[in-house]
Symmetry: C2
Subunit: 154 residues, 2 copies
């Protein structure tokens, strides 16, 4: 995929998030970048703040959850498959308070894991993928999510 | 605590959530009830909807996280202790789609667990409490959170 097509895709992902999940507007969530390997979403601190002047755990969780969701959305586009994506379960570790505007990153899984995912999805029209999403602040891991997502072909 | 004092406390919790975490306004979160044993928070579907016309996982997670947080806030008030509360980690299972306005419930832990929590908190000015929060829709468990919260005395 060339960089212009990738930029269009990111714009579509941004619009999809805003249109489909109104709360992402209130959170100021934006799709920052995707280089074919990792997706980065970001959000400002102000609308997501809590009583300790750090980011509210619920907002952090939402941004990390959507970063994994967004990576899977991009994977389906790359596979040229139309599907829906849900999160089945997740575990989040809130390791450090987040004190400024933040971004979270989801890496594409290893090729063998991706190949298994694609094979299962094409055969059974349903496949599960485990994704890890991390939020780094000042070179330290502040929040980490491990989530199991399920894609269903439409 | 009599019911008038309890009602005042719930109003204070509601105000605290709205004032300290602006996103709870956008979510339409309200503190519904506390009977001395279980705290119930509720939110309308509309501002928390997703592309499948069900509740967005991030909103569900936020409401459940705050229900546990709110129960611990009430516990500190009952112990007449001033403290701050953070969530350390949580695991959430999204078992069924949530298709209407929803409420989530956090039960006060067993007396021996509470007694240990209080003793540790008074001795070390810091104590951890594991809480479970459930969202029931049409008599079925739809979302379940297990979270570890930490209270620090101020």
């Amino acid at each position: 995929m060339n960089s212009s097509a990738q930029s269009d895709l990111l714009q579509t992902l941004q619009t999809t998030l805003y249109d489909d999940i109104p709360l992402t507007n209130a959170m100021g969530l934006t799709v920052l970048s995707y280089d074919g390997t990792s997706l980065v979403l970001q959000a400002p601190l102000a609308p997501n703040i809590n009583h300790k002047n750090t980011a509210f755990a619920g907002s952090l969780n939402a941004v990390l959850t959507l970063t994994g969701w967004g990576l899977l959305w991009l994977l389906l586009k790359e596979l040229d498959l139309a599907g829906k994506i849900v999160i089945q379960d997740s575990t989040v570790n809130y390791l450090l308070p987040v004190t400024q505007d933040f971004s979270s990153t989801c890496l594409k899984p290893a090729p063998d894991q991706l190949a298994r995912f694609e094979k299962t999805l094409r055969q059974h029209h349903r496949a599960r993928l485990e994704l890890e999403v991390n939020l780094i602040e000042q070179e330290r891991l502040a929040v980490s999510l491990k989530g199991r997502y399920v894609a269903y072909l439409l």
